[in-house]
């Protein structure tokens, strides 16, 4: 575990931002911190990046109590981000690396690595304000990773990124993971990171709702639903399964199938084939993170929370 959080609590004047949060982030994972706006994700991240301090509880970084020496090992892309507009790109990136605690010579060689990688030599002596928005986003990303952090924290990383840069970002994140980095994604748009994350924690109203490996959570929350696309006769429910048509298009049909208990997939398929149809595809339908989230916390709960926030 690169990060171990034990009973973390953070209070603000009249609300509880993080409520007794405990979670573990495995080394080398892509960890999704999911939850609606105002759930407490950024509050937690600010404690993790040592911008603020928790009122109770502790965080262990690689087994050690979190302290200022860990700053160098953490790369942070805040939701609210920016650069010094009047400063040259090269100077700025070196400055960020040195602020993290990197030696100047090392910072220079890392800068060269990223400049070569993105093929952006011509930018070095330009001021940030002379670059296009997309270029600035790349610079912002380099600023986050230039000091080779072991842990990368990205708060709403795709907000404001155009699709091309979002893809660049995704590719680089996967690359960094391959090189051994751990990545924390924090977002309220659960669909955007679902495919990337291998572990997640769902947070709602300052509390952790559930966490674990993505595949495990999906298995636990699946509703035993299969989706069959086929041509041929209409399939209707029978003692072995319930069927409900989802759509049809010409002679192509799609039905949702819920098998009755204690029947194997093999038996189900045999039964379906016996109905005299021509299958096109058959797959188990797993719930999306959003569906799991809503199922867990309840839709009313979620809405109330958003209203509370808006009312403040």
């Amino acid at each position: 575990m690169i990060i171990q959080v034990n009973n973390l609590t953070k209070r603000y004047k009249n609300h509880l931002a993080v409520d007794n949060l405990s979670l573990a982030i495995p080394e080398g994972s892509i960890f999704g911190l999911l939850g609606p706006n105002g759930a407490g994700k950024t509050s937690f991240i600010r404690i993790l990046t040592q911008i603020t301090q928790a009122d109770e509880g502790e965080i262990l970084f690689g087994g050690e109590k979190l302290n200022s020496s860990h700053v160098l090992q953490i790369g942070y892309l805040p939701e609210e981000r920016g650069l010094y507009k009047k400063m040259k790109v090269g100077e700025q990136l070196l400055y960020f690396a040195e602020l993290k605690g990197m030696k100047s010579s090392e910072a220079k060689s890392r800068l060269k690595y990223w400049i070569d990688k993105f093929e952006v030599h011509t930018w070095l002596n330009k001021k940030v304000e002379e670059l296009s928005k997309g270029m600035q986003q790349k610079v912002q990303f380099i600023a986050t990773v230039i000091h080779q952090p072991k842990l990368l924290i990205l708060d709403e990383p795709f907000s404001g990124f155009d699709p091309i840069n979002a893809q660049v970002l995704t590719d680089e994140i996967l690359n960094l993971r391959k090189e051994g980095a751990t990545i924390i994604f924090s977002t309220h748009r659960m669909d955007s990171v679902e495919l990337l994350c291998d572990h997640i924690a769902l947070i709602n109203r300052s509390k952790k709702v559930l966490d674990g490996p993505v595949h495990q959570i999906k298995q636990e929350h699946k509703s035993n639903l299969f989706e069959l696309v086929y041509t041929g006769n209409t399939i209707s429910s029978n003692p072995v399964f319930d069927a409900q048509e989802i759509w049809n298009e010409g002679d192509k049909r799609c039905v949702g199938i819920v098998p009755n208990q204690n029947i194997s997939n093999r038996e189900l398929l045999l039964n379906l084939m016996n109905q005299g149809i021509e299958p096109i595809s058959f797959r188990e339908k797993l719930p999306t993170m959003e569906e799991i989230f809503i199922k867990t916390v309840g839709i009313s709960n979620l809405e109330n929370h958003e209203e509370n926030l808006a009312g403040k």
């Binding site: 603020t52 942070y76 981000r81």
Partner: protein, 441 residues
């Protein structure tokens, strides 16, 4: 400490590398000299801006004997006209004003001046002085004092030269030079605090509106960022100041040579100026006193004054600079700063205004002493007092209170700053800022 250094290095380099820094460093002394030169010029030649005013004096009784002297802007015209004509001519713009002196009057105490607009106090004062002097002279003459004696009496002048009793004996003092030295020091400190304090504030606001601040404080503590900024900008100011000093030292020799040459070319002007100043009877410095002025500069303990200047220069800036940083952190844009700037700039302006009046006039009054103890005003006020001689205990007390003062404001500012830079949206109230002071991190 290393991070404070890194931040201040960036603050310093980004500012010093700008072209505007070089331009301002070279131009601003010129502008200041020009600015004060113009004020000085107009205060000496008050009438340059005025057009000539012709005053008609209807003096049938010949009380003034046509002896009222013209000045550059006020001309007297003795003519006998009727009241009706007087009004017509004023309305026609022929005369600025008409004074009708009643013929049968024995003793002149009050007279009426006829005009369209209210004449300035200076104009009235000049006419009154002329009239008084003519009447006085004629009275003296009628009592048997002749013209030569009168001229001699009028040339009487008395000048006081100060001798200051100090530890080492008796020293020659010079109020003019003393005031000058103190004022220059106070002015520079005032200017520096204002100029660079506002730069600190702008820098903080810039980082906040750029939204870069969260990225940075994940690498350095807010206190380090704030101190780095304040110190980096202080270094910019000191650099600028050093450049000015070097410029003055390098240029003063050729410039004073130039001035001397100009004066040598026109020895008559000096002579004329000297006699004029003697005639006017005031104990003002004549142009011939320039050498004395420069010689008197040598009388001061420059080590003490220079050292104190540096101390108050830096501590005063830290005191106010950290408050400016706190303001910058509390707001999202510069227009919101007004409300918070006011209580901070007021004492500074107050100190500067008082330094030029009350403090200079009585540098050891209890008001002056108190003002030089309170950190809000002491950097400016103490500089003005110093050349007049200040007891050692007062200097030490003032320095001690200044140190306590800036440690306090830096602490205060860092409490506000750490919360302020992450707070966006509505402009905070004083109450909210007060609450920030006691909030945990």
């Amino acid at each position: 400490m290393k991070k404070i250094w890194l931040v201040s290095k960036r603050e310093f380099l980004t500012r010093v590398k700008k072209k505007s820094f070089l331009v301002m460093t070279l131009l601003s002394p010129l502008l200041i000299v020009l600015f004060y030169g113009i004020i000085f010029y107009f205060s000496i030649n008050k009438d340059v801006t005025d057009s000539v005013k012709t005053i008609c004096v209807v003096d049938a009784g010949n009380h003034f004997n046509k002896q009222l002297k013209n000045s550059k802007t006020i001309h007297f015209d003795f003519r006998e006209i009727t009241h009706k004509e007087a009004i017509d001519r004023i309305e026609a713009g022929l005369y600025y004003a008409v004074i009708e002196v009643p013929e049968e009057l024995k003793e002149i105490k009050t007279l009426e001046i006829l005009c369209i607009e209210q004449p300035s106090l200076g104009t009235l004062d000049y006419i009154e002085t002329q009239m008084q002097s003519v009447i006085r002279n004629s009275k003296l003459a009628s009592n048997g004092i002749n013209q030569d004696l009168l001229n001699e009496i009028n040339q009487t002048t008395v000048q006081l030269k100060t001798l200051k009793i100090t530890d080492t004996g008796v020293e020659k003092g010079n109020s003019g030079v003393t005031t000058f030295i103190g004022f220059i020091g106070a002015f520079l400190i005032y200017l520096f605090i204002f100029l660079y304090g506002v730069q600190v504030m702008r820098g903080v606001i810039e980082e906040k509106t750029n939204r870069i601040v969260e990225l940075i404080i994940s690498s350095v503590r807010p206190f380090q960022l704030m101190m780095g900024k304040i110190m980096g900008i202080a270094m910019v100011g000191l650099t600028q100041f050093v450049i000015w000093v070097v410029l003055v030292v390098v240029l003063s020799a050729p410039v004073s040579q130039l001035v001397m040459n100009l004066l040598d070319v026109n020895p008559e002007i000096i002579a004329q100026a000297q006699t004029q100043s003697q005639i006017s009877g005031a104990g003002q410095e004549s142009i011939g006193g320039l050498g004395g002025f420069i010689a008197d500069l040598g009388q001061f303990n420059f080590l003490l004054i220079g050292g104190m200047f540096l101390f108050f220069f830096i501590s005063g800036y830290l005191f106010y600079g950290s408050l400016f940083a706190a303001i910058g952190s509390a707001v999202d844009n510069e227009t919101d700063t007004q409300q918070f700037m006011f209580p901070i700039t007021m004492p500074l302006i107050f100190a500067f205004v008082l330094a030029q009046s009350s403090v200079v006039n009585s540098p050891n009054s209890s008001l002056s002493v108190w003002l030089s103890m309170i950190p809000f005003t002491s950097p400016v006020v103490m500089m003005v007092r110093l050349p007049f001689g200040v007891p050692q205990w007062q200097i030490l007390a003032s320095m001690a209170s200044m140190i306590v003062g800036f440690i306090f404001t830096v602490w205060l500012a860092s409490r506000i700053y750490r919360i302020g830079i992450l707070t966006f949206g509505k402009k905070p109230t004083y109450r909210e800022i007060w609450r920030w002071l006691f909030m945990s991190n």
